[in-house]
């Protein structure tokens, strides 16, 4: 039922909002501005590519749009004018973007060609500035992107835009699950099979996590990238290999092990190097920014990944010529082991071996490789012990995290932490 006394200014306000979107393609933000009294002028503000709506009118505009839309749904025979309906939906969703049904109605308008797809992406981006973790907005975005893909849109341009939007949302709300999920989805669905974009993302993400040391979601995205880099069929960039090589040397040079290990020649240089360099970055961040659980969680991931590489060698070796073969990782690979019986393909059991099977190594070379891995494991654990003992005693929270880490190393990873002098 229509209300007896609808808010008379509502339609004008909706038209003004619509006009701002039309005339300002660079519009980037929307927010509700706290102005409690009606001063008899328009409550729609437009300054420096930002759209504002004065708070006094919000409840009136929302109730008006809500009832009008619900009425339109009931009177299916007498359809609301699509342009009007689109304006009503824009107004309602800017105020309350959680109403799934209203997004569905926008999808219907898009399907019918009554709304423009690019314009829709712009609308969602602006809406996300106020509600950066809105599930429905991201779901709708994916839907629009899928439609554009089917229509043959330029993938590169789409990817570029989506990466920007998800970064923007991640910047505005910490640990933004949906923003980072969206980014992963885009990389999986829009990125070409080449490695260039992965390298670009890897570098950008290093800068991002270094300035967001509490953001576990951002770090988890980095784990996603690392997995992709490790699985990559092509070789990684010279830069990455070089950093990796130096990181391995740095790790080994700090260990108590006197042996001169020539790991740099190994077939595992790419994967071990990637993990080693990430581990050193993580160590640096933990020491510079004390008391951040996200950093310690990320570290676990790196150590588990390293353990997986050791397992991979022991698997290939069969008997396993090294002491570490008895302490096979209990975490992901155990899951994978259990799952591989039931899951024939997909994400779980495709534990891509970092060492390519067609890479022929003589038994002598394999022996050397195993010896190197043993040394490296020793060096890594020494590094862990050093980190734990190096945490300042006056940093209580950091101390707590370090203690938890030691416990995790021995109980979950099942590796002993050596004593450091």
């Amino acid at each position: 039922m229509m209300q007896d006394d609808p808010f008379p200014a509502a339609e004008r306000i909706l038209l003004e909002i619509d006009a701002v979107f039309r005339k300002d393609p660079k519009l980037k933000e929307f927010d509700i501005v706290p102005v409690t009294a009606n001063h008899n002028k328009s409550p729609v503000l437009h300054v420096e590519h930002c759209l504002g709506l004065e708070s006094w009118c919000v409840r009136h505009v929302y109730c008006y749009t809500y009832h009008r839309i619900m009425d339109a749904r009931q009177l299916r025979s007498r359809r609301e004018d699509p342009a009007m309906l689109a304006r009503l939906l824009s107004g309602a969703l800017l105020i309350n973007p959680d109403v799934t049904t209203f997004w569905n109605m926008r999808r219907e308008l898009l399907q019918a060609g009554r709304l423009d797809m690019q314009g829709e992406l712009h609308f969602i981006a602006v809406l996300l500035s106020r509600k950066p973790k809105c599930t429905e907005a991201f779901a709708h975005r994916k839907w629009v992107v899928r439609r554009l893909l089917l229509a043959g849109a330029d993938k590169d341009a789409l990817l570029e835009e989506e990466l920007q939007v998800s970064r923007y949302a991640a910047d505005r709300y910490p640990n933004n699950y949906h923003a980072w999920s969206h980014r992963m989805w885009c990389l999986a669905n829009l990125a070409p099979a080449t490695s260039a974009i992965l390298h670009k993302e890897w570098a950008a993400s290093e800068a991002w996590v270094s300035s967001h040391v509490s953001d576990h979601s951002g770090m988890q995205y980095r784990q996603f990238l690392l997995d992709r880099l490790l699985e990559l069929k092509h070789s990684v960039s010279e830069d990455i290999v070089d950093t990796g090589r130096k990181s391995i040397q740095q790790l080994l040079s700090h260990s108590q092990n006197e042996d001169n290990v020539d790991f740099v020649q190994s077939a595992l240089i790419k994967s071990v190097g990637l993990i080693a360099s990430e581990l050193l970055l993580n160590t640096d961040l933990i020491l510079r920014f004390a008391g951040h659980e996200a950093l310690w969680c990320h570290r676990r991931y790196l150590l588990v990944s390293f353990k997986k590489i050791l397992n991979c060698r022991t698997d290939m070796n069969g008997t396993g010529g090294c002491r570490y073969s008895s302490s096979i990782c209990v975490t992901r690979s155990r899951c994978a082991e259990k799952l591989s019986e039931a899951v024939s393909s997909g994400h779980v059991n495709t534990e891509n071996a970092p060492l390519e099977r067609d890479q022929k190594l003589s038994s002598q070379e394999l022996g050397a490789l195993d010896r190197d891995l043993c040394h490296l494991q020793g060096a890594m654990m020494w590094h862990e012990a050093k980190l734990i003992s190096g945490c300042q005693p006056d940093e209580l929270h950091q101390q707590r995290l370090a203690k938890q880490h030691r416990k995790w190393l021995s109980h979950v990873l099942k590796l002993d932490v050596p004593a450091v002098a």
Binding site: T100, N104, A139, E293, C297, C335, H347, E395
Partner: protein, 332 residues
């Protein structure tokens, strides 16, 4: 400089006793006191709101204060021609609200109010070739919807209508190195989604895929010095995670791994001593969502004044028993 930990500090002014009567009053007056704006702002999740309120009322023995006939009429009106159920009259059907409706009808033993055959067809139609479920016809995939689908069908005794093995396969593909689960393969572990995935595996009897020690470890690390639980690293504690984390630990048979006393103190501190109801954190505004999860958590923690709750379905245990359902639980 000492680092600030993301946690809250409980003061002596927060409630320490369970305010049962106030919670019953809070729920029974919740819909009545709302103004038009609040009603329009929240109608999009009304069906779930009703489920939260009713479950809370039943757990504290006050369900008779709710007008059953009105609720049943409402649900009937929310079923779409395609069989799915929407959040409210005039809203589109969705798995989230379809499950809420089925949970309410199970509690009232009134499943025949809706067209069950069509409802089952609706749920079935949302399964994808990879075993996952979309929340509705628009295609968003999430492990939450896998839980909704199997919970819903099992309550109706129709689990065999979908490809359970494929459904399990998808959920298991969302498992991470820390033992947890995310919304899609490769997504970050999240306590709410872990609950959904464990619930799904519990209903279908596939908990053997889970590394219970590893996941239990992660879940216990959600407990902060205040006693409260968060849902991911470096997030603030929130009463709703008291439920998702605890229910998960209960399903894994590792509930005793948590520091019980301090968690009870935290949950009780989240009660509103004036209006009744629970909020996310002490001192915030209460709502039915946090109220049911606060009460259900206390039930799992052994509060005798609250009826036992089933950790898989978040429904009164006696209802799950009446339906003859035995969702799987692990033991240590």
């Amino acid at each position: 400089m000492a680092t600030l930990m993301k946690d809250i500090i409980l003061s002596s002014s927060h409630p320490k006793e369970l305010l049962l009567q106030k919670h019953a009053d809070f729920i029974s007056s919740y819909g009545v006191n709302k103004d038009e704006y609040e009603y329009c702002m929240t109608e999009y999740l009304r069906m779930s709101g009703v489920y939260w309120g009713l479950t809370a009322m039943e757990l504290i023995g006050n369900l008779e204060r709710i007008n059953k006939q009105e609720i049943l009429e409402f649900i009937k009106l929310c079923q779409d021609d395609a069989g799915g159920i929407g959040a409210s009259v005039g809203h589109d059907p969705h798995l989230l609200y379809t499950l809420s409706a089925v949970q309410i009808l199970s509690m009232y033993d009134a499943l025949d109010i809706v067209n069950v055959d069509r409802l089952v067809q609706y749920v079935k139609s949302l399964q994808q070739p990879d075993g996952s479920f979309c929340g509705d016809k628009w295609g968003e995939v999430d492990t939450r919807f896998s839980f909704c689908a199997v919970a819903c069908l099992s309550l109706l005794g129709k689990l065999e209508e979908i490809d359970v093995e494929k459904a399990v396969e998808f959920v298991v593909s969302c498992m991470n190195f820390d033992g947890g689960f995310g919304s899609r393969p490769g997504s970050e572990s999240h306590a709410g989604l872990i609950y959904c995935c464990l619930g799904m595996l519990s209903i279908t009897g596939h908990l053997h895929y889970v590394d219970a020690d590893l996941l239990g470890w992660w879940l216990c690390e959600r407990q902060l010095p205040s006693g409260g639980l968060n849902g991911r690293p470096e997030k603030l504690p929130d009463v709703c995670y008291s439920w998702w984390v605890l229910a998960s630990l209960r399903i894994l048979g590792r509930l005793h791994w948590i520091r019980r006393e301090s968690l009870v103190t935290f949950v009780l501190a989240c009660q509103d001593p004036e209006t009744g109801g629970f909020s996310d954190r002490p001192g915030d505004l209460p709502d039915p969502f946090h109220t049911i999860f606060g009460l259900a958590a206390l039930s799992l923690l052994g509060e005798p004044a609250i009826k036992p709750v089933n950790p898989t379905y978040c429904m009164p245990q006696h209802v799950v028993d009446r339906l003859g359902l035995r969702p799987q639980k692990l033991t240590l």
